[in-house]
């Protein structure tokens, strides 16, 4: 994994150009604070696909023609695809995971401090911390996180994040693309201008993929008046009917 990481770093030279016209923090880093969302068919299918009953057409967001599955994993992906209307973890409002949360068609908010970035995904109100304080991935007994463990650093204007310690319970899209608990993700968040970010994620998983591969989407800053995340604890929807307000005759939602 270390060799692979070094290889990726060499292959993707750091963006050293300093953009002008973007907000910066007191320490000179790009200020990614804001509410962002992808406008892309990535969540429907990362790979290129014609229109389907459950997905608009899309040209794909991966480098290359297809995700390089190992033979056995490809069969699993095909089985996932065939049963996607039942098995997609999003249908139960499971935490979507990384990278999927970043291109799911619902906004997320970035809040930034020198020591970390806090990402709040509206879907499920999942909270992710990208540590940028020089700390390392947890040592020891292989913890597993729905969103992985994220340690980031800046390379010029690009935020580079190493993400490890995943569960095997999340999918990469609605088409059944998946990974194992051996997933390792390297993200590059690169400002294009004040209101656009390029998001690239390179995925390595020796149990599932024959080689590392990369996806990329553009993230757009939402600029609607008074835009805010609206709490979406969708996993409560299956039981919230059991908690009606207990008083009969009391107006519901009176101002």
């Amino acid at each position: 994994m270390a060799l692979f990481a070094a290889g990726v770093a060499a292959a993707e030279a750091p963006h050293t150009n300093r953009l002008t016209g973007i907000g910066r923090t007191a320490d000179g880093r790009p200020d990614l604070t804001g509410i962002w969302q992808a406008i892309s068919t990535a969540d429907f299918d990362l790979e290129a696909h014609s229109t389907r009953k459950d997905a608009p057409p899309g040209a794909g967001v991966i480098d290359g023609d297809s995700i390089p599955y190992l033979p056995g994993a490809l069969k699993q992906r095909q089985a996932n695809f065939a049963a996607r209307d039942k098995l997609d973890p999003r249908l139960q409002c499971f935490t979507l995971g990384v990278p999927r949360d970043n291109y799911y068609p619902e906004p997320f908010q970035i809040l930034q401090r020198p020591r970390d970035l806090t990402l709040i995904y509206e879907f499920g109100n999942s909270v992710r911390t990208i540590h940028t304080n020089g700390t390392l991935h947890p040592a020891g007994d292989n913890p597993e996180f729905w969103l992985g463990d994220s340690r980031g650093h800046w390379e010029g204007d690009a935020l580079v994040v190493d993400v490890t310690d995943f569960t095997d319970k999340t999918w990469l899209d609605r088409a059944g693309n998946f990974h194992s608990d051996a997933l390792h993700v390297i993200e590059r968040w690169t400002p294009l201008d004040q209101d656009h970010l390029e998001y690239r994620a390179t995925l390595e998983d020796p149990k599932v993929f024959a080689r590392p591969w990369t996806l990329s989407v553009i993230l757009y800053r939402l600029k609607d008046k008074n835009i805010q995340l609206i709490e979406n604890y969708c996993y409560t929807l299956d039981y919230d009917k059991y908690y009606p307000f207990p008083g009969e005759g009391v107006p519901r939602g009176a101002p």
Partner: protein, 334 residues
Amino acid sequence: MTNFDRRRIIARRAWPTLSVVAALLAVSQAGAQMRWSPTVVVDPEGPWTARRLADHQPDVQGVWSNDIANHDNFTDPQGGIPGDPSKGLHVANGAVDRPVKPRSERAPSRVSDPADGEVPFQPWARAQQQEFLANFFNPTKQEYIEPGAHCAPAGVPKSLYWHGYEIRQFRGVVLFLFNGGTRIIYLDGRPHLPSTIKLWNADSRGHWEGNTLVVDVSNNNAKARFGRTGEFASENVHIVERYAFAAGHYTYKAVFTDPFVYTRPFTVTIPAHRITESAPQDGWHNEQEWANRLPGQPPLYENYERVCVENNHGHGAIVASPKAAANAAPAPAP
């Protein structure tokens, strides 16, 4: 990850009977080493003299936890849950003093006004609260199971006495990260969401007055109870919170106004203390882990991801895949 890892200890494959859920909820409290104070310390409101952030907010970032007790009992916080069949179980870990100490030596009610410490319920609402409490230990209907058992957010104000929590501050924003639920408090004066939108953790707008964070709370979905004793508000409740901060301590005072449920407004007081790097990990106040640092750097706590198991598990045990079935078994809230 907190609860995700706990599943290895308490995971069960089938949805248990309702009474088992309640029993496990009680038992699960016994694992944590808790330290509670019977004394309510009130920090005065006034000027802020300590460190400020770049946007001039008082810097109150870090991990905090309630001084008094957990969510078992709203008006007798160290009295345990009335009717608890596990008598004495809680005493071992210090969560409550019942039955060791008499009421006069336990912490006062969280309701500081009116003086009798009771929520000024209208009679019908008092009856509803009593019905929930009477059925808590043997819930025969889904509505008698506290929503937190499904990992629903604890809401306002219960999140403040449901494990330690982290405050992060950003330009124009105060963020509360609870063990189960998040509140984003905007300081920029924007209006509340439309009143038809109702949320577990409501909608918060704040501003600073000296050392005090003042938060106006509306858009409450009224599904969360204030504790296992079943106190509640309606969707119409209006809450004004005042968080008065000192260096290592703060006092929360909130006025609840809801003429549909109460006969008059009432005030809730919750004292809380800062969790520092010298605090032990105790599974309640301090659920942080030691950050993995390069040699020679001082110890630093950090919070891991907090995803409740049933946060990832729809009620009714629908499972995503055969593999997920074993791992995503319902588990009680800790």
